[in-house]
C-alpha cells in the first residue's frame, strides 16, 4: 500500500487516507524515505528552453489560427478563412472584394465545397448568389475542373424548380458559379421549425419531382438530394432544387469536413454506397427524394439509427416503416409513392422522375403508370446467372476494380471499422472519376477496350458460350479445335496449363467461385512459355502458379508468360510467381491486375516493356514478398497503382533509363509497406527523368522509396499532391518506427508466414472482413489510411 501510495497509484480517496496516516506514522515515513531514491525525476523536463518565441512567432500563429479555424459565426458578417488571400482588396480604398463583375457583399453560407456570397452583379445590376470553390480543394488537381464541369452541366438545366445558374467562371484559379438568388429558406431549416401543413406536401413533392425530371432529361443527376438542397421561396409556393451534380465534386476531405455523410446519411440511396445493388443513376435521386418526402410527411427519417453505420445498414437492408402504418394523415397515393421511391432496388422504384410527376399530378398510385417490365424484377433472375451477370458487369466496366473494392468495403463496414471508412466509402466513385479525368491517356484507352467476341456471345447465350473443362487434355483439345475467341471454365481444383500460343484470338479463363481452382504452369525448360500476341487473355477467379527453371542469364527474358501487343487482364486471381524468374513480360501490351494478389518467394519479376500509350494498371491488389516490377524503356506509357498494398520486398526497378525514357506513374491510396526500396534506379546513365510520379494519399509506413545510386535528383519527378515541388527525398523518410500491424501481426511476421507457406496472400486479402474493432487494419485492398 505504501509503495502504491509512493508511486501515486492509489485513488484520490485512498491517497488522502494513507496520507493522513503517513503524517502521523514515523515508521511509514522512514520506509517512504528508503524508496525515495528512485523518485520520479521530472527535472529534465523542466529545464528551461533556451529559445523563446518572438512577437513574430505570435503573429504567425495568430494568423494561422484565423486561417484554418475561422468560426462559422463569422459567416454572414465577413469574408472568411482560407478565401482571404483570394479576395484581397485594397484596404485603403475600403472597397468590397470583387470577382470579375461581381461585388461580394456578404458571406451567406459555407459548405464543404465552397462559400456562398450574396453578390451584386454590376453589369446587370441585380443581386445574385456567388458560390466559390473552397481553396482547400485546390490540393486535388481535378476538383476545379470537376467543379466547373458540373456547374456547366447544371447550367444547362432551365426549369423553374431548379436554381438557375447564370455564369461559371474562374477567379485566380478558384472556380466559381453565379446563381439566381433565392429569397427563402431550405426545407431543412423549415422542417426544423415544425411540420409543414399537409396541404403543402403535394405541391412541394410535385415541384421537386418536376425539377428532378428536368435535370434528368438534361442528363444531370443530383446525387445529393436532401432537405438542405431544397429551397422554399418566401411569399410564393415555389420550390427550387439547388447544388445540382455538385456532390460529385466533393472529395473525401470535404465529405468529412461538412459532416454530410457522417451526419446525415439518411438520404443516400443504397446503391450509392453498395455497388452490388446496382449502378448509381437518376433513380438514386428518386430514392433520396423518397427519403425527403418521408421526412417531410412524418417528421422523421425513414432510416435512422444511432450511428452512421447503423443508418447506412438500415438504408441498405431494412424496410422503412410504411407511412400508412403511422398516425399521419397522408393521402394514400402519396404514401404509396413514397414506399415505391424507397425501394432498395433501383429497378423496383419508379423508373423516371417524369413518372413520379405524372403520378402526383393524377393522384394515382404510381404502379399503375409504370411499365409492365418493372414487375418482372419481382421474380428475379435465377441466383446462378445473377452471379454470372455480376461477373460480367465487373469485367466490362472500367469502374470494375473500384466496385469490387467497394463491395469488400461494405462487408467490412458491417464489422464496425469506424466512421472514417464511411467517408472513404462515399468517395469511391468521385475518386474514380477524378482518376479518369486526370489520366487522359488511360481514359481514352480503357473504355475502348474491346470486348471479346466470346464475352458478347456469352452475354447473348447465357452460359452457352462457355466451355467447361476438367483436365488438361480437354483444354488442349479445345484449344486445338477452335480457332475463335474462347471462354473456358475450369471445373477442377487443379489443372495443369499447357504451353499455348494465343495468337489473334481472345481467351477468358475462369473458375466457379466456390472452387479454389489452381492453374499450374510448370515448365521444364526456359523456352517454354505461354504466349499471347495481339489477343486478350483474361483470367478470372483462379489461382495461377508458375513453376520451373529461371532464365540462366539476368538479361535474358524468358518469361513464363509473354503478352505482346495484346492485353492481359487478371481479376480476382491469386498469382504465385516463380523465384528469380521473369514471370510476366508485357511488351507493347496493356496489362491490368484487379483485385489480385501476387506472391513470390524470391524476387520474381514482372517486366514492363511498353509502347507509347500502353497502360499498366494494378488496382486493389496485394503484392507480397519479393516482386520486382522492371520498367523497361518507355515513352508515354502510364502506370497506375491504386488501392494496393505492397509488402515484403517489392521493387520497382528501372533498367537503363535513356534520355527518351519516361514512365508516368500515378499512385493513389496505396500502402507501401515493403521493407526494401520501392523505387530503384540502379543504372542511372542519364540525367533525364525516367519516372514522373504523381501520387495522392499513399501510405509509406516502412518504405524507403526512390533509392538512386547516381544521386541524380532529376531521375524521378514527384508530385504528391501536397507538395508538388518536392524531389524524391520525401520518400526517404520512414514515417514511423512502429511497424503497422495487420491482423494483429507485424508485417515481418506476415512476410515470414507467407514465405513459409503458412498463410497465403489470398488469405490476407480475404480475411479483411474480419477486421476487429481494435483499430487494427489488415493489409490489402481496402485502403486503411483512415486510422483505427
Amino acid at each position: 500500500m505504501l509503495q502504491r501510495f509512493r508511486y501515486g497509484q492509489l485513488s484520490a480517496e485512498e491517497e488522502a487516507v494513507v496520507g493522513q496516516h503517513v503524517n502521523r506514522c514515523g515508521d511509514c515515513q522512514i520506509m517512504l524515505q528508503s524508496v525515495e531514491s528512485d523518485a520520479p525525476s521530472w527535472h529534465d523536463l523542466a529545464t528551461a528552453n533556451q529559445v523563446e518565441g518572438s512577437g513574430y512567432l505570435a503573429d504567425k500563429l495568430a494568423a494561422l489560427k484565423r486561417e484554418v479555424g475561422t468560426p462559422t459565426a463569422d459567416a454572414g458578417t465577413n469574408f472568411v478563412g482560407d478565401l482571404e488571400p483570394w479576395l484581397k482588396t485594397d484596404p485603403a480604398k475600403q472597397t468590397l472584394p470583387q470577382i470579375d463583375e461581381f461585388i461580394l457583399q456578404q458571406c451567406i453560407g459555407r459548405g464543404g465545397m465552397g462559400a456562398v456570397f450574396l453578390a451584386n452583379d454590376t453589369k446587370l445590376a441585380r443581386q445574385v448568389a456567388l458560390k466559390i470553390m473552397t481553396p482547400g480543394l485546390l490540393a486535388d488537381p481535378t476538383a476545379a475542373e470537376r467543379f466547373q464541369r458540373e456547374a456547366r452541366s447544371a447550367a444547362a438545366i432551365n426549369h423553374p424548380n431548379v436554381v438557375t445558374i447564370h455564369a461559371v467562371g474562374v477567379h485566380r484559379d478558384l472556380p466559381y458559379l453565379v446563381m439566381e438568388l433565392v429569397d427563402g429558406q431550405s426545407l431543412e431549416d423549415r422542417l426544423r421549425i415544425g411540420a409543414l401543413p399537409a396541404s403543402t406536401w403535394m405541391p412541394i413533392a410535385q415541384q421537386i419531382a418536376e425539377g428532378l425530371s428536368a435535370a434528368h432529361v438534361a442528363g444531370v443527376q443530383h446525387r445529393d438530394v436532401k432537405p438542405a438542397n431544397i429551397l422554399l421561396q418566401t411569399g410564393t409556393d415555389g420550390v427550387k432544387l439547388t447544388d445540382f451534380g455538385l456532390a460529385k465534386t466533393r472529395d473525401s476531405q470535404t465529405l468529412t469536413r461538412t459532416g454530410f455523410l457522417v451526419g446525415t446519411p439518411e438520404f443516400i440511396a443504397p446503391e450509392q454506397f453498395d455497388p452490388t445493388i446496382g449502378p448509381v443513376d437518376h433513380r438514386s435521386d428518386l430514392f433520396s427524394f423518397g427519403s425527403v418526402l418521408y421526412w417531410m410527411i412524418t417528421g422523421q427519417a425513414p432510416f435512422k439509427d444511432d450511428s452512421v453505420l447503423g443508418t447506412l445498414r438500415r438504408v441498405r437492408e431494412q424496410p422503412h416503416r410504411p407511412i400508412s402504418s403511422m398516425s399521419v394523415d397522408c393521402p394514400e397515393h402519396l404514401a404509396h409513392l413514397v414506399d415505391r421511391l424507397l425501394e432498395k432496388h433501383p429497378a423496383r422504384r419508379p423508373q423516371s422522375a417524369a413518372d413520379v410527376v405524372r403520378a402526383i399530378a393524377e393522384r394515382q398510385p404510381v404502379t399503375e403508370l409504370l411499365p409492365a417490365m418493372d414487375l418482372q424484377i419481382e421474380t428475379g433472375p435465377p441466383r446462378r446467372s445473377q452471379a454470372v451477370r455480376q461477373g460480367q458487369r465487373r469485367r466490362t466496366t472500367p469502374l470494375g476494380g473500384t466496385m469490387a473494392w467497394a463491395v469488400l468495403l461494405v462487408a467490412t463496414i458491417l464489422v464496425a471499422v469506424g466512421v472514417f471508412v464511411v467517408t472513404r466509402w462515399g468517395d469511391s466513385r468521385p475518386r474514380v472519376q477524378a482518376f479518369r479525368a486526370e489520366s487522359e491517356g488511360i481514359e481514352a484507352r480503357i473504355p475502348n477496350r474491346r470486348r471479346s467476341q466470346a464475352d458478347q456471345d456469352a452475354d447473348r447465350n447465357g452460359d452457352d458460350g462457355t466451355y467447361d473443362v476438367t483436365n488438361t487434355d480437354e483444354l488442349i483439345e479445345l484449344l486445338d479445335q477452335t480457332a475463335d475467341d474462347i471462354r473456358i471454365r475450369v471445373l477442377a481444383d487443379e489443372l495443369e496449363l499447357p504451353t499455348f500460343f494465343l495468337d489473334g484470338r481472345d481467351m477468358h479463363l475462369t473458375a466457379p467461385p466456390e472452387l479454389d481452382t489452381r492453374l499450374v504452369f510448370q515448365r521444364e525448360d526456359v523456352d517454354e512459355r505461354i504466349q499471347v500476341r495481339d489477343a486478350s487473355l483474361h483470367l478470372e477467379n483462379v489461382m495461377l502458379e508458375f513453376v520451373g527453371p529461371m532464365e540462366p542469364e539476368v538479361d535474358d527474358i524468358d518469361a513464363f508468360m509473354a503478352v505482346v501487343d495484346g492485353e492481359f487482364l487478371a481479376e480476382n486471381c491469386s498469382i504465385e510467381m516463380e523465384s528469380s524468374a521473369t514471370c510476366f513480360l508485357f511488351e507493347g501490351a496493356d496489362a491490368e491486375l484487379i483485385h489480385c494478389d501476387l506472391h513470390a518467394m524470391d524476387s520474381a519479376a514482372i517486366r514492363w516493356e511498353p509502347q507509347p500509350g500502353s497502360v499498366l494498371r494494378i488496382v486493389n491488389c496485394v503484392m507480397a514478398s519479393a516482386i520486382q516490377l522492371v520498367l523497361g524503356e518507355a515513352s508515354g506509357d502510364s502506370i497506375v497503382l491504386e488501392h494496393n498494398t505492397f509488402i515484403g520486398e517489392v521493387n520497382f526497378e528501372c533498367l537503363d533509363p535513356s534520355s527518351e525514357t519516361m514512365h508516368r506513374l500515378t499512385a493513389n491510396q496505396n500502402v507501401f509497406a515493403a521493407t526494401e526500396s520501392m523505387m530503384m534506379c540502379d543504372r542511372g546513365t542519364s540525367s533525364a527523368s525516367w519516372l514522373r510520379w504523381t501520387g495522392r494519399a499513399n501510405q509509406l509506413p516502412l518504405a524507403i522509396l526512390a533509392v538512386q545510386e547516381e544521386e541524380d535528383e532529376d531521375l524521378i519527378e514527384v508530385s504528391t499532391g501536397i507538395e508538388s515541388e518536392d524531389p524524391p527525398t520525401w520518400f526517404d523518410d520512414r514515417t514511423s518506427r512502429q511497424e503497422p500491424r495487420l491482423d494483429g501481426r507485424s508485417v515481418e511476421t506476415i512476410w515470414e508466414q507467407l514465405d513459409s507457406g503458412e498463410i497465403r496472400p489470398q488469405q490476407l486479402r480475404r480475411s479483411q472482413g474480419d477486421a476487429g474493432d481494435e483499430g487494427e487494419m489488415l493489409i490489402g485492398a481496402i485502403d486503411h489510411f483512415d486510422g483505427g
Binding site: 501510495f5 501515486g8 484520490a12 491517497e15 494513507v18 496520507g19 503517513v22 503524517n23 511509514c28 515515513q29 517512504l32 524515505q33 525515495e36 523518485a39 520520479p40 525525476s41 521530472w42 527535472h43 523536463l45 523542466a46 529545464t47 528552453n49 529559445v51 518565441g53 512567432l57 504567425k60 500563429l61 494568423a63 494561422l64 489560427k65 486561417e67 484554418v68 479555424g69 482547400g136 473525401s252 476531405q253 468529412t256 469536413r257 444511432d306 450511428s307 464496425a416 469506424g418 466512421v419 472514417f420 472513404r424 501510405q699 501536397i722 518536392d726 520525401w730 523518410d733 514515417t735 514511423s736 518506427r737 503497422p740 500491424r741 483499430g775 486503411h784 489510411f785 486510422g787 483505427g788
Partner: protein
C-alpha cells in the same frame, strides 16, 4: 453501435473535424512554439523559424483532413517530426538554390545533408519537455502555492519530501499527496493532447 474510436478522442483526432476551431487553436498554441524552437535549433533565424512553424502546422492540418495521419501506424509526434524535418529541408533547399555559393549556404547545406541519427531522439526530448512545460502552465493555477511547491520541489528539483515538508510547514504524507495530485493532473492534461506521451 459505437465506433472503435469513440474512447480516444484526442486533440489530434479532433483536428480532423475542421469545424472544431478550439482544437485547432489549441493545437497551434501547443505545437507552434515547439516547431519554432526546433527551427531555431537547426539554425534558423527568428522570422524563418516562425515561418517554419506556420508551414508545418498548415501542412499538418491539410494532411490530417486527408487522413494522411493514421494513429494505428505511428505516434503523432514522430509524424509531426517527419513533417517538420521535411519542411525544414525544403526550406534549406530553396534557400540553397537562391543563394548558391555564399559562405552561409555551405554551412546550411551541411546541416541539411548531415544525417543526424540523434535528431529524432532530440525531438522526442524536446517534445516531452515542451508538453510538460505547456501542461504545467495550464494546470499551475489549479493548485495552491504549497501544493505546487510540494510537487515542484520533490518531483522536479529532487528535494526529499521530508526536507520539503519542513520547509513548507507541512507533514510528509501531505507532501506525497500533493505531489501525486499534481502529477496526476499533469498526466491527465497531457493525455488530452497526446495520449501516447507518458511521463513516468
Amino acid at each position: 453501435m459505437t465506433t472503435a474510436n469513440s474512447t480516444r478522442v484526442s486533440l489530434v483526432t479532433r483536428l480532423g473535424d475542421h469545424e472544431d476551431h478550439d482544437a485547432w487553436a489549441q493545437f497551434v498554441d501547443i505545437y507552434g512554439p515547439l516547431i519554432y524552437r526546433y527551427g531555431r535549433r537547426r539554425g534558423l533565424q527568428d522570422s524563418d523559424a516562425a515561418d517554419l512553424a506556420q508551414d508545418v502546422l498548415r501542412e499538418v492540418s491539410q494532411a490530417i483532413v486527408k487522413f494522411q495521419y493514421d494513429p494505428a501506424i505511428g505516434r503523432f509526434r514522430n509524424w509531426l517530426f517527419l513533417i517538420a524535418r521535411r519542411v525544414l529541408s525544403r526550406r534549406f533547399r530553396n534557400r540553397d538554390r537562391s543563394f548558391r555559393g555564399s559562405g552561409d549556404t555551405a554551412s546550411l547545406q551541411q546541416l541539411q545533408e548531415l544525417p543526424d541519427p540523434h535528431a529524432e531522439d532530440l525531438w522526442e526530448v524536446e517534445y516531452r519537455k515542451h508538453l510538460f512545460q505547456w501542461a504545467s502552465e495550464q494546470v499551475r493555477s489549479e493548485f495552491s502555492e504549497n501544493t505546487w511547491a510540494a510537487f515542484w520541489r520533490t518531483a522536479v528539483e529532487g528535494d526529499s519530501p521530508a526536507d520539503v515538508a519542513g520547509a513548507l510547514g507541512l507533514r510528509v504524507g501531505s507532501i506525497y499527496v500533493a505531489r501525486n495530485r499534481v502529477m496526476r493532473r499533469l498526466r491527465q492534461r497531457i493525455a488530452q493532447v497526446d495520449e501516447t506521451l507518458k511521463l513516468e
